[in-house]
Amino acid sequence: MAEQPTSAPLAPGPQTGPVDAISVRDVTRDYRRPRASVRRPSPPVHALRGVSFAVPQGQRFGIVGESGCGKSTLLRILAGLDQPTSGSVAIDGRDITGLRERQLRFVRERLQLVFQDPMSALDPRMRVGDIVAEPLVAQGHRHRKERVAELLEAVGLRADAANRYPHQFSGGQRQRISIARALAPRPKIIVADEPVSALDVSVRAQVLNLIADLVDELSLTLVFVSHDLSVVRHVCDRVAVMHDGQIVETGSTEQVYEDPQHSYTRRLIAAAPTLDRALSGVSAADLNRE
């Protein structure tokens, strides 16, 4: 909350009550760039520099930041697609750091991802039914056909969509397909990376409503990553603002937006154009002022 990055109370203490869906403790991730010189190795890139937070079951947790802030690295680590350099990540109380791929199976069941670009996230040569069923195949699920039909209906698509290919759908419909696929293994946690950034305005509201409906009905925990503050504000209960590999501020979304404490958060909010502010006379120069 204060200017101090990663405040201590964030780090989950000894567990009391229900286990947090996600708990991240002091995670760092360093990368090495390819050598630029024969004499010395290039300096490491500190993509994450001591990130800690916890997401209780059922919460909608937003992560906001600009490109290069480390939010994508963090997501990959949460999903078990990458390992932190130090620190630990627990999903439903089970540490996933240092596990091998076959030991990560429970993560794949509990936590699913929805990506920004629904076209590159869907295999163009597979029929929608097979795309949605793929996580079920991996898990040896029976009655896949019925489950696929049920999932397509849940995301507002007709059952005959299963026989068609991704390119036959619009951007919003493709994002519905990605969501159906993510829900297939009955996960309890959905991690969505900029899920509506590529969508048209009139379709964005539909997909945001769909996500909200599903999170409610299925009592999901949602981690929602976006560069768009107004979207996070609408979707999430709590928000973490990332800058330069660190969480610079965290709190309830209302509190962070109404009364930002960190200078970076203030700058981010001040720079974002909104219709209401524009109509009350805020100019481009004003957005750039802070």
Binding site: E66, S67, S170, G171, G172, Q173, D200, V201, S202, V203, R204, A205, Q206, L208, N209, A212, D213, H227, D228, L229, S230, V231, R233, H234, Y257, E258, R267, L268, A270, A271, A272, P273, T274, L275, D276, R277, A278, L279, S280, V282, S283, A284, A285, D286, L287, N288
Partner: protein, 359 residues
């Protein structure tokens, strides 16, 4: 049948043959259409932009907004054909159907453009200083390379690049996305164009960088008294950067007018829906956003009659025929049989206290 909303003396403009109607008119677009095969992607687009005026063109994918901009620039992809008339003050010929030799004399001089993706707009193998100098030398607005280079340094300083004297000798990959977009803007402004066309110039940028680039664009055109056509899907951006806005859907302008008016008292049902759907502060009792049902049809597959009628809750049989343009002012009007009542205030969203502040 053709809406001619932007010129008060409609009769004078209807002919559309001569040069722009009034001395201040920079860009005069009449009856612009874009077709591919037999399919109409854009039809009957009419508007005028005067010197120093900043006009936004908003719409979703497939609305025809980018095709409109590309036809103004004479940059339509192969196979697409523009019809109608696009006149630019000071240019003796129509830009529609002008051959490449003529257009290349206009482009980069009278009209300049800023695209969404700065990396593809810049030549990766050429120092940015030379890329700026090139546009000055090609159009012979600077006599020699030395003075063009000096002008390039000056332009980079104007767009706020740190250490412009060194920046001229850097390659595009050495800059960040926002800095590259500023280089593109420097090239666009180099010859003080009468018209600057911006197509989603800040969409790929971070919020704080977007604020910077928007500010530079607005200042750049204000300083030169250039006309600006600004294309975006982002209502907040257009309301911030422009004075006037045209709303496109299905290849037609369905509503236009001053930003303040269109966004606070929209008349067309689509505009109303768009504003409602983009307002993330107004929710129903279940916490859900207002939506427009269905999705945007692919370009050229919009319904006949009113293009919005298959998604519109107010559509009737009347909407199967094409609605006439209803002018509401010199630069404003709409095309809808069942417009929002004039008193209709936008959505449920009255500006909330913290957002209505000074910013």
């Amino acid at each position: 049948m053709t809406p001619a909303p932007d010129t008060a003396p409609a009769t004078a403009s209807a002919s559309g043959q001569g040069s722009p109607d009034r001395p201040d008119d920079v860009l005069t677009v009449r009856n612009l259409g874009v077709t591919v095969g037999g399919r109409k992607l854009v039809e009957d687009v009419d508007f005028t932009i005067r010197a120093g005026e900043r006009v936004g063109l908003i719409g979703e994918s497939g609305s025809g907004k980018s095709l409109t901009a590309l036809s103004v620039m004479g940059l339509l992809p192969d196979g697409l054909r523009a019809t109608g008339s696009v006149r630019l003050a000071g240019v003796g010929h129509d830009l529609v159907d002008a051959d490449e030799a003529r257009m290349s004399r206009v482009r980069g001089k009278e009209i300049a453009m800023v695209f969404q993706e700065p990396m593809t707009a810049l030549n990766p193998t050429m120092k940015v200083g030379r890329q700026i100098a090139e546009v000055l030398l090609v159009h012979r607005t600077r006599p020699d390379r030395a003075s063009a280079r000096a002008a390039a340094v000056d332009l980079l300083a104007q767009v706020g690049l740190p250490d412009p004297a060194a920046a001229v000798d850097a390659y595009p990959h050495q800059f960040s996305g926002g800095q590259r977009q500023r280089v593109v803007l420097a090239i666009a402004l180099a010859n003080d164009p009468a018209l600057l066309v911006c197509d989603e110039p800040t969409t790929a940028l971070d919020v704080t960088v977007q604020a910077r680039v928007l500010d530079l664009i607005v200042r750049g055109v204000q300083d030169r008294r250039s006309a600006m056509l600004f294309i975006t899907h982002d209502l907040a951006v257009v309301a911030t950067a422009c004075e006037r806005v045209m709303v496109m859907y299905g290849g037609r302008v369905v509503e236009s007018g001053p930003v303040q008016e269109v966004f606070t008292r929209p008349r067309h049902r689509y505009t109303r829906g768009l504003i409602g759907a983009s307002d993330l502060t107004a929710v129903d009792d279940r916490g859900r956003l207002a939506t427009i049902p269905g999705s945007v049809p692919p370009a050229g597959r919009f319904p006949a009659g009113c293009v919005f009628r298959n998604r519109c809750a107010h559509a009737t049989e009347a909407c199967a025929t094409r609605p006439d343009w209803v002018p509401t002012g010199p630069d404003s009007g709409y095309a809808c049989f069942h417009p929002v009542a004039e008193s209709g205030v936008r959505g449920t969203a009255v500006p909330t206290n913290q957002e209505a502040g000074r910013g």
